[in-house]
């Protein structure tokens, strides 16, 4: 993966970049960021409000709800374990559980939809 030379606003920068099929990683002295393709960004934004999405790849320790349960905002729905730490994932809003997309002990990928909510 390459370093590229970039002319930007009358300055020249030497920048490390790494492409993936979802976008481009770009670095600078002391940091880096993933510049996402616009279509990827749009696809993600649509689902955020009503879903609990796995914030990292990990193993499902506990699923605290079932389809049809009425939940409150910030209620713990799923407990995930990654790198030997536990993370409690909470409801983004009040609602009822429409789909449970994971089972206990399952290894889920970053970005997987674990629970989706609908209006009660």
């Amino acid at each position: 993966m390459p370093w590229v030379t970039v002319e930007f606003e009358e300055h020249t920068y030497r920048v490390p970049v790494a492409r993936t099929n979802k976008g481009v990683w770009v670095g600078w002295p002391g940091g880096s960021v993933f510049v996402e393709r616009e279509e990827e960004m749009a696809a993600r934004a649509g689902s955020k409000e009503d879903c609990v999405i796995a914030p990292m790849t990990g193993r499902v320790l506990e699923v605290k709800i079932q389809v049809g349960d009425v939940v409150e905002s910030d209620q713990v729905l799923v407990v995930l374990e990654a790198m030997k730490m536990e993370y409690r994932l909470c409801a983004p809003r009040a609602g009822s559980v429409e789909v449970v997309g994971c089972v206990v002990d399952e290894l889920v990928e970053l970005g997987a939809v674990l629970v989706s909510l609908e209006d009660t």
Binding site: M1, V6, F8, V17, R19, K22, G27, S32, V35
Partner: protein, 484 residues
């Protein structure tokens, strides 16, 4: 002698490097997700363990040692390094466990027993209690000591299985979840409870023992922590007076001497604003942050461990010279709850700077998997003064290029550049008492990103989130086999 290293990642690499330059034959072990990991090939021989949790499987490790004709085992840190059961099993199998005796592990490996021992030799401890097996027992102790309290795993360290509990309402869930986490990390679900002392500095003492005599090697300050895990460590502690240092060394020495300690160990203390110190625990193993002590003393602590385990002599008591600072580079989103991150290291270039040391267990193209700890590397600098070490470490982190996984790189720089760090105003609560927000990326970043994805064809499907790109010509190829 042939040494099997029962660990992975940076510490396995660290130990294997010393075995390499000492000319001692070595064996690495690895699980399925680690089959391509760098530590595997640093050893003279390698042995497949299978499933991801096998680093915790005593029988599997002992079988690996038997099958390879190993004579000694170095456990690294984490995993089985503090398992008394493992140390005993090694002894029974006729293997030299490179660590303390089972007796010393009984005394210290268990935090409850260690507290009791400290009290008996007159070393001050944090108010709390050793025994709380059920939620009810735990709650009673917590109420007696008074909230806020800390729930800690009795069987291990590293912040795993540890919870700060502010009041009674949070107690039950914190207690149960800490127990589960402790079980997963150390195969030991027992907990203890301590009063939460603040503001305090975390100061620890590196010791070595030969089974009879012991020496204090030096001290470290590791106050900067998040979620009870250290992020920045330094040696020596710049904030304590020589009198306080002497008192802490005396406490550490008394504890170590009492059990006839063998090998390397660390005695941890909290130091209050008046310089009063409280014993926390003894870690009966090499610590993650041992390199800062190596940098200021010139001792190779792994070499000392190996020598002492085989009946070698204690080294001369070293003097600490200059200052060293270590930053832990983790795969985590430091600005978003320190969530662990996974992915592929698409680009990785380490800085090459005088007096800077990198301890890592990964290489470009490697995966950061969800199975293990999130630490990618430790970046350690030395300077004649603390300020010189600080500036070198900043420079090293700025010259480190890592793409493909979100890391805490810029967060580490935020910490090192913060006025409180420059002034040495570091306490265990400092990191979490402040709000940290992601720095703005330079303006050219978006421009470069858009240009790179627009002008050039996408070449690689990479990262754990890789899904076939719908514009890729490779999609239309159908299935084929190489060579057909």
């Amino acid at each position: 002698m042939k040494v099997l290293v029962a660990n992975r990642g940076e510490i396995a690499c660290r130990v294997l490097k010393t075995l390499g330059h000492l000319g001692i034959p070595s064996v690495s072990v690895f699980t399925d997700p680690d089959s391509e990991a760098p530590h595997v090939w640093l050893a003279n021989e390698r042995y497949a363990l299978g499933e991801p949790r096998a680093y915790l499987d005593i029988e599997a490790i002992l079988k690996a040692a038997r099958d390879t004709g190993s004579t000694a085992i170095h456990p690294g840190y984490g995993f089985l390094s503090e398992s008394q059961e493992f140390a005993s099993a090694c002894a029974e199998a006729g293997l030299t466990f490179i660590g303390p005796s089972a007796q010393a592990m009984r005394a210290f490996g268990d935090k409850r027993a260690a507290r009791t021992l400290a009290v008996s030799v007159g070393v001050p401890v944090v108010p709390g209690a050793e025994a709380c097996n059920t939620v009810e027992e735990g709650r009673a102790v917590a109420q007696e000591v008074g909230f806020p309290i800390l729930v800690k795993a009795a069987g291990g360290g590293g912040g795993k299985g540890m919870r700060l509990v502010e009041d009674g309402a949070e107690f039950e869930e914190a207690f149960l979840s800490a127990g589960r986490e402790a079980k997963a990390a150390f195969n030991d679900e027992r907990l203890l409870i301590e009063k939460y002392v603040f503001p305090a500095r975390h100061v620890e003492v590196q010791v070595l023992g030969d089974g009879k005599n012991s020496i204090v090697v030096g001290d470290r300050e590791c106050s900067l922590q998040r979620r009870y895990q250290k992020v920045i460590e330094e040696a020596p502690c710049a904030a304590i007076s020589e009198e306080v240092r002497e008192a802490i060394y005396k406490s550490a020495g008394a504890l170590i001497q009492e059990v006839g300690y063998l090998g390397a160990g660390t005695v941890e203390f909290l130091v209050g604003p008046e310089g009063d110190h409280f014993f926390l625990e003894v870690n009966t193993r090499l610590q993650v942050e041992h390199p800062v002590t190596e940098m200021v003393t010139g001792l190779d602590l792994v070499a000392e461990q190996i020598s002492l385990a085989h009946g070698g002599k204690l080294p001369d008591c070293p003097r600490q010279r200059g200052y060293a600072i270590e930053a832990r580079l983790n795969a985590e989103d430091a600005y978003n709850g320190y969530l662990p991150q996974t992915g592929k290291l698409l680009m990785l270039e380490w800085p090459e700077i005088p007096f800077v040391r990198i301890d890592s267990g990964v290489e470009e193209g490697g995966e950061i998997s969800p199975f293990y700890d999130s630490m990618i590397a430790k970046v350690i600098s030395w300077g004649q003064t603390r300020e010189e070490a600080r500036l070198r470490l900043i420079s090293a982190l700025e010259k480190l290029t890592l793409l493909g996984v979100v890391t805490n790189q810029s967060f580490l720089l935020d910490l090192l550049k913060a006025p409180f760090f420059e002034d040495g105003e570091t306490f265990t609560t400092t990191v979490e008492s402040k709000t940290w927000s992601s720095p703005l990326a330079p303006e050219f970043v978006d421009f470069v990103g858009k240009r790179e994805m627009g002008n050039r064809p996408v070449e690689v499907a990479s990262g754990s989130a890789g899904v076939g790109d719908r514009f890729s010509p490779w999609r239309n190829l159908g299935s084929f086999r190489m060579g057909e």
